[in-house]
């Protein structure tokens, strides 16, 4: 944990929206238009967390959990109903433009690039908007363009770029003025494997090499697994879990599996592990990784059986997170 004050501090954050209650029946649509019958919707309810400089945090939750609403309040484009947000010492919604200089935002679903103009023009405009000095700007742009391999398409209008190219363009745009904090809202949504990997590598790299603090919102749990040490999990506008990803996995997915291919089909019976599946010569056993170590199990199996092949299967993060989403809460500890 960093010693200095956290870069982002969120305390008891609440956001309520007022929605017009829809009228049913004849001319319902028209009557809704003139209705003064409102209902309160609580999108974010008492959320608190803090993020230190240099962290890369996954901000996760199912659709409608309140992720985007939180991010909008962190960037200052939504005003909290109550609670406090501080980003680099500023109150984003009151000091939105000053805050804008400290942050970069990349939305997977929309672009900040200028649609009709060559990509190069967007980069130039961003540098001018944020007052990046010419020398620094040229160097940084050249570095970023090379890192994300955008050189060949700099002169193409943004509207002609593929989704992956556009996404990389947006990442460069957000990093040109070197913001201390980068919000990435589903940066890999809709991308193919190659594009996804490339963007993931880039995110990891700027976090490590430039020390950029990153808040990542995504539904792609591979992103999370590859990038985030810490996650904040929310649902129904409340924080369900805030801490290391590894700890969550150890706690809620305590079992690891060992897949054994035997020379002769047989049931596997060894201490500290139980057989969960048998398909011909292929047997799957599971064991609690917090109580017994994998090499001990492997040694026991190879000592007792004629083994052709072995592999240890890591617990799957999407199984854990998926379970939490469907339970709408953390599962009870399995002791």
């Amino acid at each position: 944990m960093p010693e200095e004050a956290p870069l982002v501090e969120v305390a008891h954050l609440v956001k309520e929206f007022r929605r017009v209650r829809r009228k049913e029946g004849r001319l319902g649509g028209v009557r809704t238009l003139f209705s003064h019958d409102y209902e309160q919707v609580r999108a974010v309810s008492d959320v608190s967390f803090s993020i230190g400089a240099g962290e890369l945090v996954g901000y996760l939750g199912p659709n409608g959990a309140g992720k985007s609403t939180t991010i909008k309040m962190l960037t200052g484009i939504l005003t909290p109903t109550s609670g406090r947000v501080t980003v680099a010492g500023l109150d984003p919604s009151r000091q939105r433009r000053a805050n804008a200089r400290n942050i970069g935002v990349v939305f997977g679903q929309r672009s900040q690039l200028w649609w009709d103009l060559p990509l190069r023009e967007s980069f130039r405009a961003i540098r001018d908007l944020y007052g990046v000095p010419a020398g620094t700007g040229n160097r940084r742009e050249a570095e970023l363009v090379e890192l994300l391999e955008l050189g060949p398409i700099l002169d193409s209008p943004v509207r002609q770029l593929s989704l992956g190219q556009r996404m990389r363009g947006d990442l460069v745009a957000a990093m040109l003025y070197q913001p201390a904090l980068l919000y990435l809202d589903e940066p890999t949504v809709g991308l193919d494997v190659v594009a996804r990997t490339r963007i993931r590598e880039f995110i990891g790299r700027i976090n490590v090499e430039q020390g950029t603090t990153i808040v990542l919102t995504t539904h792609d749990l591979e992103d999370v697994e590859k990038l985030c040490r810490r996650i904040v999990l929310i649902d129904h506008g409340k924080v369900l879990y805030d801490g290391e990803l590894a700890r969550l996995m150890a706690r809620y997915a305590p079992y690891r599996e060992l897949v054994i291919t035997l020379a002769e089909p047989a049931d596997v019976r060894i201490p500290d592990a139980e057989q969960v599946e048998r398909d011909g010569p292929v047997v799957t056993v599971r064991f609690r990784s917090d109580r017994v170590r994998a090499p001990a199990i492997i040694a026991a199996v190879t000592a007792a059986y004629d083994v052709v092949d072995l592999s240890v299967v890591e617990p799957r993060i999407d199984a854990v997170i998926g379970h939490i989403y469907t339970q709408r809460g953390l599962p009870d500890d399995e002791q």
């Binding site: 005003t79 919604s93 433009r97 939305f107 929309r110 900040q112 908007l129 944020y130 007052g131 209008p157």
Partner: protein, 265 residues
């Protein structure tokens, strides 16, 4: 300096964007040339066999007026940039709000760039007018100088009208054709094709109390030596509209913005 650079970046965006669409830009130029030719033919036909003036206007002035009117309007009268309502719907308002300069500044700067990109239209308009023998000199050197000053005000008024139109769409919603209707009203009441002095009293009154005439009719009336209420009054009304429209835009935007940031659109 930093602020100027930031604003200029948006002027540049506005300047470059129309050039990304060469087809429509060339088409606009052809439409301008055709309109000038047609109105010239019609005015000359109306005045044929009628040697004097109508409402104090000779055939030469009527023709020169429509040439200048269409040219000025083709440079200054932009369609509103993507309206705020549609930016909110597409979630792009967030992108606008996260820029280090305000939305009104961004939009106005882009419009200034668009107007600059339209300047070549004057070559088409005046060239066509010249080819048809329809141009006449200003009423005098004073009128010419005042015309230039009045054009500057007209530029400001026209940009603020376009901006206000885009902003107010937040409430008026974009029922199909509203923008078209706005375009027709604007062209007519600004006196782009028909000088206000041809209009019957009641219609003239409507045109006089609305800002549109300050964007085209005023500079032209100065050019032809017939400013309403005298030169100073005409320029004063323009300046007044700049202030009023600017105030209206700021007010409308502050209301719209409050709703966006509190209600999330």
């Amino acid at each position: 300096m930093t602020a100027i650079r930031a604003v200029y970046s948006q002027v540049r965006i506005g300047w470059r964007t129309p050039w990304a669409y060469r087809g429509p830009t060339l088409l606009t130029m052809m439409i301008l040339a055709a309109q000038i030719a047609l109105y010239t033919v019609v005015w000359r036909a109306i005045y044929r066999g009628h040697s004097g003036t109508v409402h104090g206007t000779s055939v030469d002035v009527a023709v020169a007026y429509v040439i200048l009117g269409l040219t000025v309007a083709s440079v200054l009268d932009l369609w509103p940039r993507q309206s705020i309502a549609s930016r909110v719907r597409e979630g792009l308002i967030g992108v606008d709000l996260l820029r280090p300069i305000g939305l009104l500044t961004q939009t106005l700067a882009t419009q200034v760039g668009n107007v600059a990109a339209n300047i070549p239209q004057t070559v088409i308009g005046l060239g066509m007018g010249f080819a048809l023998g329809g141009l006449v000199p200003a009423h005098g050197p004073g009128a010419a100088a005042a015309f230039v000053l009045s054009l500057v005000f007209a530029f400001a008024v026209s940009q603020l009208i376009t901006l206000l139109m885009g902003l107010s769409s937040f409430w008026t919603l974009e029922v199909g054709g509203t923008t078209m209707l706005f375009g027709v009203v604007r062209t007519f009441l600004s006196g782009t094709v028909i000088p206000l002095w041809f209009m019957p009293g009641w219609l003239r009154t409507i045109a006089d109390v609305l800002p549109f005439q300050a964007a085209t009719f005023t500079p032209l009336s100065i050019y032809f030596g017939r400013p309403t209420g005298g030169l100073l009054a005409a320029l004063g009304v323009q300046a007044g509209w700049v202030i009023v429209l600017f105030g209206l835009c700021s007010w409308v935007w502050s209301r719209a913005q409050r709703r966006v940031v509190i209600q999330g659109g």
